[in-house]
């Protein structure tokens, strides 16, 4: 994770230059995605933001809670990424009695923060 964190920053610089005149090229998109994953991880682990570790065990995080399931095999559990996003946006829709806060609906995370968290969680 640490290694990939450095390259995207360079890529973002390049992205800024390119963005003005070109449609986003495939190579640049993947760099931007890598950056979103890294940022998503920070937001997910931040106590005042996602604070996902309060309830979920996540690779790379310490002292995780055990209220929710460990976040593993996410692509297998959510074939459709939009469903994962919907779960984080407002988990009470699919699980009415859940303790999980509605991160999008209650604006705990901004739209962009939520998108990044989804990108990160989807890599797990």
């Amino acid at each position: 994770m640490q290694k990939t964190a450095k390259n995207p920053r360079v890529a973002i610089g390049a992205l800024a230059i390119i963005l003005g005149s070109f449609a986003i090229a495939p190579g640049v998109v993947s760099a931007a995605e890598a950056s979103a994953v890294e940022e998503g991880k920070k937001i997910a682990f931040h106590r005042k933001k996602g604070n996902c570790l309060a309830c979920h065990k996540i690779a790379g995080g310490s002292l995780a809670g055990n209220i929710g399931p460990a976040l593993v095999n996410m692509k297998a559990r959510f074939a459709d990424k939009a469903k994962l996003r919907a779960k984080i946006y407002d988990a009470t829709v699919s699980s009415p009695n859940t303790i999980m806060p509605p991160f999008g609906k209650h604006k705990i995370l901004t739209k962009s923060e939520l998108d990044k968290v989804v990108e990160f969680i989807y890599t797990l």
Partner: protein, 277 residues
């Protein structure tokens, strides 16, 4: 408005099956049964010890703390305050049954004259104003010390809160119950989410204590606070943690919540003041 609708919806969804029909007696049976089943090796009276009833590791530290209890000074201060006459020459003893010794077990109760739940703290301040003294601040300081002394003289008695056959008392109880199961705050959590559904689970590195017996040990010395606080101070802290606006200490909401929750601890010993993390 959206939020309000949301809260109302949450209350109706969560509260409906629990709030509507059951009598307080039925509630108590179900509530206690749930925890006895969830923690089959913990005897009922042990629930007076909160998270230390279910976690041997932290219990050891707690027992070490209890050897030199951090609330001891407060008990002494409370006793001194209790016995210091007001300007009119009377003392707190004049306001309470049995001279105020061992009477925390009388609270909370539904006061049919005042039409509200009376708590030990509200009775302490009522005693002061009746005797021409200014009321004390509600959440900590002298009131917590007085309450600690009075709790201390009540230790060993069993919690036995009554809900009289008065519709207003039942309404107060039901209101407290609804409050306990209602989602609130930006994090959209109810008290029950953590302390019923997830009691014994870990939220980050902290073990969630069971709701059964929660009201046995107040006022409490919390290491986090570095001093003693009343149960309404604790309620406010919980509300803030889920990013909800707390109610005022001794508001009807908190009085009713205390009424419901203490009733749910019936059968468990009074063991205040307590020490917690």
């Amino acid at each position: 408005m959206k939020k309000l609708l949301l809260i109302t919806a949450a209350i109706s969804v969560l509260g409906a099956p629990l709030v509507s029909q059951a009598s307080p007696e039925d509630d108590l049976k179900a509530f206690r049964g749930y925890f006895m089943e969830r923690f089959p090796n913990v005897p009922l009276e042990e629930f007076a010890n909160g998270v230390y009833a279910i976690d041997p590791a932290s219990r050891e530290q707690w027992e070490a703390i209890e050897e030199f209890p951090p609330y001891e000074i407060a008990i002494d201060e409370g006793e001194e305050l209790f016995n210091t006459p007001f300007k009119n020459g009377k003392t707190y003893a004049s306001c309470f049954r049995n001279g105020g010794i061992g009477v925390k077990s009388d609270y909370p109760y539904y006061d049919t004259e005042k039409g509200q739940v009376e708590t030990l703290e509200s009775a302490i301040n009522a005693c002061r104003t009746k005797n021409g003294e200014k009321p004390l601040k509600w959440k900590q300081g002298k009131i917590a010390s007085l309450s600690a002394y009075m709790a201390y003289t009540t230790r060993g008695q069993t919690i036995d809160i009554k809900i009289p056959h008065d519709q207003r008392a039942v309404d107060a109880y039901e209101d407290g119950k609804r409050s306990y199961y209602a989602r609130r705050g930006q994090l959209n959590m109810s008290c029950a989410h953590c302390h019923v559904d997830n009691s014994g689970n870990k939220i980050r590195a902290d073990l969630l204590s069971p709701a059964l017996g929660h009201l046995s040990h107040f006022p409490v010395y919390r290491s986090k606070w570095g001093n003693l606080g009343t149960v309404h101070r604790r309620f406010a802290g919980c509300n803030k943690q889920v990013r909800a606006l707390p109610f005022k200490a001794q508001s009807p909401q908190y009085r009713n919540l205390e009424y419901f929750l203490t009733y749910m601890s019936n059968g468990i010993p009074w063991n205040g003041p307590g020490a917690r993390k």
